[in-house]
Each structure stands twice: as structure tokens, then as C-alpha cells.
């Protein structure tokens, strides 16, 4: 009898769960968020949400365009603004499907604290989302740009970032997890790749342009393309992919076009070591090792000779060093330790770090840095000599 009652109670409880999870949401009552943007406007926090079309791609084959839907709301806080969207939008946005977070420059220059709290506390915002910063435009405008063949600009940005990393190798993708980790760790400052809207043949397109540099809770400046390339060369993790152009004349910026040679970087890695001098000053010595292939040459000169290969290796090493130094000088100018040297010192010389920590940005700006780069050519792909026209 008692067993029967107990069994009955269990059955009753199991029956109550047949409806599904406690706070389930039906698919036709939701809509996927592909990305969202955060901005500030006259003290108000603005959130823009790019919504995937609930009905999918319209008829008309691969040429059919999906209408991009961007919802924008503002309030005193981002969570509040996000919830206000539900006041005029009939479906529940599924935030966990979002792939990118786009910040406005105004927000980055103002204060990141509220934004960081919002994206760290909210369980629907996934740490693997990629971060971008808009340059000279707002996240809302970026999300409204058409990016064929991709239907949604937030997804397109992620693919652009991943694609350029293995091909051009200029910018490094930054995930929310990485940004958050650097944001709270002493001795290292975070960066975010920037995106801008440019006109091409009368059409607005998105373009990755530079890297935003932070110091504490604010953005303090940007790296150019060349400096961003240098930043990628300076990270301790192994990098794969990327191109670098050298000029046989030795002048990369304004040397003759006919002497341009493009070198591919298959992999590169930087090792930074702090060195204490007898007078108490500190030198950061950076060793960059890279290897790659000869990728393109405009000169008809045969570069695949022992002497020329050594010359090319030297020129490429010099170019790598130049880009790395350009990045270091810019970071020092901005007093932002984006390389994590402070963090490295805190691990290797904790006593010294205790003295330096309080005034680290100023100390970093005056640090003496020595960069050595060594590039080795491995292969030349399908031809060994330049194509010669014979009459």
C-alpha cells in the first residue's frame, strides 16, 4: 500500500515534467540573435541586436537577399535596454546563439566597466564570442551593412576575421574570454580589432581596420595595419599564416615596384625576456623566429640563389623587426602594455613587480626594448626561378 502511494507520487511528479524544462521557450516564439552591439549616447546605454530572419531565406535562389533586422534600445543599463526590446518585439531573442559583440568607439573611450559587467554576468552571453570595435560609425550601422554572400554582418565579421588570419595574417581574433581575462589581469592590457564602413563601387562594405588599444577601463588609441601586424608577430603563441612584403632595394615603403617580393610566413613565435642591468634599468629582449616561403616576386631576377636567399631572409627579418618595433613604439606611446610584459615580470620577478605595479604604465612607456628577428626561407612553391620571356 505504502509503496503504491510512493510510486503514485513519483508518477505524478514525472507527469508534471512531461511539458518539458521549467522555463522552456517554444521555437516559434523565439528568434536567434546573430550578434549585438553596445554603444553610449548622452549617458544612455544603447544596445543593438541583429536578428536572424525567423522565416529563413526567401524564395529566389542564392541571389535572394535576407532583410537584416536590427533592433535598438537604450536605457540606463545594458541589461535594461536589452529587456526593453521585448516591449516592441513579439519574439524572445536567443542571445546564446550570438557570435560577435560589437562595441562602439564612444563606449570604449568612455568606460568599459558597465559593459564588462553585463557581458560577464549574463549566462546567455557565451565567452567564445568574438569582439569588434566600430571605427567612426555605430554598431547599429555596422550591423545594417549588407555583406553578401553572408546574410548577416555579425557572422560575416567573424568569417572575415578567421579568413584574414590564415591569409593576410594582420589581425588576431579576440574572444570575450580572452578580453575579459586580460581586462582583469594586472600587467597586460586588452585589444580589440576595429571595423569600419567604407564605400566600394557605391556600395557600403565592412572592412577590418586597425586594432583598438585599451588602458584600464578605456580605449586610449589604435594601432595601424602595420602596427597590428607587428602585434601579431609579438605574441608568445605560435602564429600560422600571413604575408609580408619586402623590397630588394631595402626601402619597403617607397622602393621600386619591380623589386617587390612577397614572403609568406608559415609560422612565427616571439619570446620576450626581461633583463635587469647592473644599474637597475630593465631591458625587454624580444626574439622572433619565423619561417616561410617565397610567395611572389615582381622582379625577373633569379632570387633562388644561395646569396639571394640569404639576402631575402635578411630583408624579411628586417621587415619583421620594423613592424614589431612600430607596434612596440605605438604601445609605449599609449602607455598600454598589450604584450603582457608586466604580467611576465610579475611571474618571473615578483618582488620587482610589487615595486613597479603601481606605476607600470609609465614604466612600460620608458622601457628599453631590443628586438631580434630571424626569418628562414623553406620553400618556393611550384617554380624555382622567375619566369623569363625569351625572344
Amino acid at each position: 500500500m505504502r509503496r503504491g502511494i510512493l510510486l503514485g507520487m513519483i508518477m505524478l511528479l514525472v507527469l508534471s515534467s512531461l511539458g518539458g524544462c521549467y522555463n522552456r521557450v517554444e521555437l516559434d516564439e523565439t528568434v536567434a540573435v546573430t550578434g549585438f552591439g553596445l554603444d553610449v549616447d548622452k549617458g544612455q546605454k544603447v544596445i543593438s541586436v541583429q536578428i536572424a530572419s525567423p522565416s529563413g531565406k526567401p524564395e529566389g535562389g542564392s541571389n535572394a537577399e535576407v532583410e537584416t533586422m536590427v533592433l535598438t534600445e537604450s536605457a540606463s543599463g545594458y541589461a535594461q535596454a536589452a529587456r526593453q526590446i521585448t516591449l516592441h518585439f513579439p519574439r524572445t531573442p536567443v542571445w546564446s546563439l550570438s557570435t560577435s559583440i560589437i562595441l562602439s568607439e564612444a563606449l570604449a573611450r568612455d568606460d568599459l566597466r558597465l559593459m564588462m559587467d553585463f557581458v560577464s554576468r549574463n549566462r546567455f552571453i557565451r565567452p567564445n564570442m568574438m569582439m569588434f570595435l566600430t571605427l567612426g560609425t555605430s554598431p547599429e550601422e555596422v550591423m545594417q551593412v549588407k555583406t553578401p554572400p553572408e546574410e548577416y554582418s555579425s557572422l560575416a565579421l567573424v568569417k572575415m576575421m578567421q579568413g584574414q588570419e590564415s591569409q593576410s595574417g594582420i589581425y588576431m581574433p579576440v574572444s570575450l574570454r580572452e578580453f575579459r581575462s586580460k581586462y582583469v589581469t594586472p600587467g597586460v592590457e586588452p585589444v580589440i580589432p576595429q571595423v569600419q564602413i567604407v564605400e566600394m563601387d557605391g556600395e557600403k562594405v565592412l572592412q577590418l581596420q586597425g586594432v583598438a588599444v585599451f588602458l584600464g577601463h578605456n580605449m586610449v588609441g589604435s594601432l595601424t595595419e602595420k602596427e597590428s601586424y607587428g602585434l601579431r608577430l609579438l605574441v608568445p603563441e605560435e602564429n600560422r599564416g600571413g604575408l609580408i612584403t619586402v623590397n630588394l632595394s631595402g626601402d619597403r615603403e617607397s622602393g621600386p615596384l619591380g623589386e617587390m617580393v612577397t614572403m609568406e610566413i608559415i609560422r612565427s613565435r616571439a619570446r620576450s625576456t626581461p633583463r635587469l642591468n647592473a644599474d637597475g634599468s630593465m631591458v625587454i629582449s624580444v626574439d622572433i623566429e619565423a619561417d616561410g616561403n617565397l610567395y611572389e616576386q615582381t622582379t625577373s631576377e633569379n632570387l633562388q640563389t644561395t646569396a639571394n636567399l640569404v639576402r631575402l631572409e635578411d630583408l624579411t627579418s628586417q621587415a619583421i623587426k620594423e613592424d614589431a618595433l612600430a607596434c612596440i613604439h605605438k604601445a609605449q606611446l599609449l602607455k598600454s602594455d598589450i604584450f603582457g610584459w608586466g604580467s611576465m615580470i610579475s611571474r618571473q620577478h615578483p618582488d620587482l613587480w610589487q615595486r613597479l605595479e603601481a606605476d607600470w604604465p609609465s614604466f612600460f612607456a620608458s622601457l628599453q626594448v631590443e628586438v631580434e628577428a630571424k626569418y628562414s626561407i623553406r620553400r618556393t612553391y611550384l617554380i624555382e626561378e622567375a619566369m623569363q620571356i625569351r625572344n
Binding site: 511528479l13 546564446s96 549566462r123 565567452p127 603563441e237 611571474r347
Partner: protein, 372 residues
């Protein structure tokens, strides 16, 4: 009398030791010791081994399971009074497990779910297991450990993604000794949850071999807790680990294996859930069994119903918010555990030793005395 195999006891001890630290130890140690949190675990090896020896000594020199052994060694009055205190201490662990899991679940998975419904869903299976008996519970725990423990470790391993930086554990040896002592004390307090062996050990087939299983459990605990403490630090760094409510859950959230395995936090919850069931069922059994021993009841099962209601109500009332939960976990529970589960059993060791010594002396005197 119910009988447990040695492997069942091993599984029971492993869940009682490993489940709570798996959920919260990373955060607590990161708050105390930053990147040196793992050193506290290594530092707790000696206290842990000492506890294993104390429990084994008590087991091999007692004829009754805990808390009956209190009456055996300290006399019926004092034994019953202390035994009564232990009922509440074991009950506190039951409530702690409930509260911890409720907060874990409501913070990360379903914040809108009423806590009462969640508690019913956790308590009900444990209630049924206890009503069925210790042997059935032990069999379920055995299955849970064999399936969930490797999966729990695998989920941690998945957390070692491309952003893992082992240098986040540096600098070594640059820490405050008081903080290390605090960390060792904290870890040792959770090791003392092995005290259930005093109640369950006598149910074992081969109590004389228990030391091997206890050592094996301790080794497994060290391994899993080290992994649970180190992986969040190398993945996030000590600062972020210390500010997250449940760093282990965030490891699962951030897991992305080759852009193929991700969004696995629900698997993490499904691993933690049976673990919580196990620790709940075991300590609940020990609570009821202790009450049976202290009050001289015929069967512990009649206490399962009332204690279920008490546990549910206490879980709602005990901790008003997650901030207070961590205060309890870090500052209040460890004191209770250390005093009742480590110091008091340790105090019993010399008592038993002296009693044995006296008995041996009187035995030898009897032998030496000429027959009348």
C-alpha cells in the same frame, strides 16, 4: 545487517570527498591564494594522511559503527550527548549539499525555477534510495562514480583550450604563509568529510583492508581537486577565477574542441547532479543511522520522511543568498567540519590507546597473578 563491498565503500567515500570541492574549491582557493591555490591541496596531503590513519585506527579498535563507538569509548552519557551533536553535523552536510547544488543550478541553468521544486527533485530520489536501503544506495553510487567521475575529469580536460596559459601558475613560491595555512586548513576540512567511513566502514566485507581503499580515495580526491583548481587558473587566470561564482561551470561554457564540441555545460550539470544525489543520500543515511543509534531506535527508515521535510525547509532558510553561501562554505562549515570530523576523532585516538593500554596491563597482571 547490510553489507558493502570494498569498491562500493570506495565509491561512497570518493563522492563524499570530491563532489563539493569540484564545484567550489577553485574559487575559494583562488580567493585565498590566487595562482598558488593548488599548493594548498598538496599541503593537505599530510593532514589528509593523518585523518586516514585516525579513522582507520578508530575503526579497527571499535566494535560499533559511529556514533555507537562514542558510547563504547567515552561512556553512554557523554557518548550520547556527542552523538546527538553529530546527528546535526551530518544533517548540516545534507543541507549544505542541497543549498550548494540549488545555487549552482539556479545561478547557471534555470534561474527562474522555484527553489522548492528543485529541492523536491533532488530530495525525492535520495528519499527513495534511503527507504530502499543502504545496499541499493551503494549500488547506485557505484554506478554514478564509474560513469560520472571519468566524465567530470574529461570535461575539465576539455577546458584546456588554445587560450590555456600554464605560466598563469607562476610565480611559484611567492605567497603568504598565513594564506597557505588558511588554504590547507580549508582543504583539510573538506577531506574530513571522509568521517562517514566511521559509520559505513563496519558494514564493509573486509574492514581490515579499509586503509588501502581510504588511501586510494584520498589519492583520487587529490587528483580531481588539483585538476579542478589548476584548470580554471590556467584557463582564466587567478583574478577571473576568484570573481566567478562557479569557475568550473564557466570552463564548460567556454569549452570549444576543434569548433565541434561546445555548449557542453548541460553535461557538466548532468555530471554534478548525480554527484550531489550521492553525497546527499550518503550523509542523509548517516544522519538517520546516527539518530537511530543515539536514540536506540529499531530502524532508521522512520526518520527519512521527517528529515526530508526538515532538510528541504532548512535548505531554503539556511542561506539567504550566494554571497552568504560562500561565507558559510569558506568560513563557517570548515570550522564545524574540522572540530567535529577531525579534532574530536583525533581526540578519541589517545582515549582508545589509553584504554587498550590499561586493558593490556590488567590482562598481564591477571596472567602474572598466581592462581588461587
Amino acid at each position: 545487517m547490510a553489507r558493502l563491498t570494498n569498491i562500493q565503500l570506495f565509491c561512497i567515500l570518493l563522492v563524499t570527498l570530491a563532489v563539493t570541492p569540484y564545484q567550489v574549491m577553485a574559487k575559494m582557493l583562488a580567493m585565498i591564494l590566487a595562482q598558488h591555490g593548488w599548493m594548498a591541496i598538496l599541503g593537505s596531503v599530510l593532514p589528509g594522511l593523518l585523518l586516514v590513519w585516525i579513522y582507520y585506527y578508530l575503526l579497527t579498535n571499535s566494535s560499533r559503527p559511529f556514533p555507537g563507538m562514542l558510547e563504547e569509548h567515552l561512556g553512554p552519557v557523554l557518548g550520547k550527548i556527542i552523538g546527538f551533536v553529530y546527528i546535526w553535523a551530518f544533517f548540516l552536510v545534507v543541507v549544505m549539499s542541497l543549498v550548494l547544488f540549488a545555487n549552482f543550478f539556479l545561478s547557471n541553468v534555470l534561474p527562474g525555477m522555484p527553489i522548492s521544486i528543485l529541492l523536491i527533485f533532488i530530495i525525492l530520489p535520495a528519499f527513495y534510495a534511503l527507504r530502499t536501503g543502504l545496499e541499493a544506495t551503494a549500488r547506485v553510487v557505484e554506478l554514478i562514480v564509474l560513469t560520472a567521475y571519468p566524465l567530470a575529469m574529461l570535461l575539465l580536460l576539455f577546458g584546456l583550450g588554445p587560450e590555456t596559459d600554464w605560466s598563469r601558475l607562476l610565480p611559484l613560491g611567492h605567497f603568504d604563509m598565513a594564506a597557505l595555512g588558511n588554504g590547507v586548513w580549508l582543504v583539510s576540512s573538506y577531506i574530513s568529510l571522509m568521517v562517514v567511513v566511521l559509520t559505513l566502514g563496519p558494514f564493509c566485507h573486509q574492514p581490515r583492508l579499509l586503509w588501502r581503499w581510504m588511501l586510494a580515495v584520498f589519492g583520487m580526491f587529490l587528483f580531481s581537486t588539483l585538476a579542478a583548481v589548476i584548470i580554471p587558473i590556467v584557463a582564466y587566470g587567478p583574478v577571473l577565477t576568484s570573481i566567478q561564482t562557479f569557475p568550473i561551470f564557466n570552463i564548460a561554457r567556454a569549452t570549444d574542441v576543434a569548433n565541434f564540441i561546445h555548449n557542453i555545460e548541460i553535461i557538466m550539470v548532468s555530471v554534478v547532479m548525480p554527484g550531489v544525489f550521492s553525497i546527499l543520500a550518503i550523509f542523509w543515511f548517516v544522519t538517520c543511522y546516527s539518530a537511530q543509534q543515539v536514540f536506540g531506535l529499531q530502524d532508521y527508515r522512520i526518520l527519512v520522511g521527517p528529515t526530508a521535510i526538515m532538510a528541504g525547509v532548512s535548505a531554503v532558510l539556511l542561506v539567504p543568498n550566494i554571497h552568504f553561501l560562500y561565507i558559510m562554505l569558506q568560513q563557517i562549515f570548515p570550522w564545524i567540519f574540522i572540530i567535529l570530523f577531525a579534532i574530536l576523532p583525533a581526540f578519541m585516538v589517545p582515549v582508545i590507546w589509553l584504554k587498550l593500554r590499561r586493558r593490556q596491563d590488567s590482562d598481564s597482571k591477571k596472567k602474572a597473578a598466581p592462581p588461587k
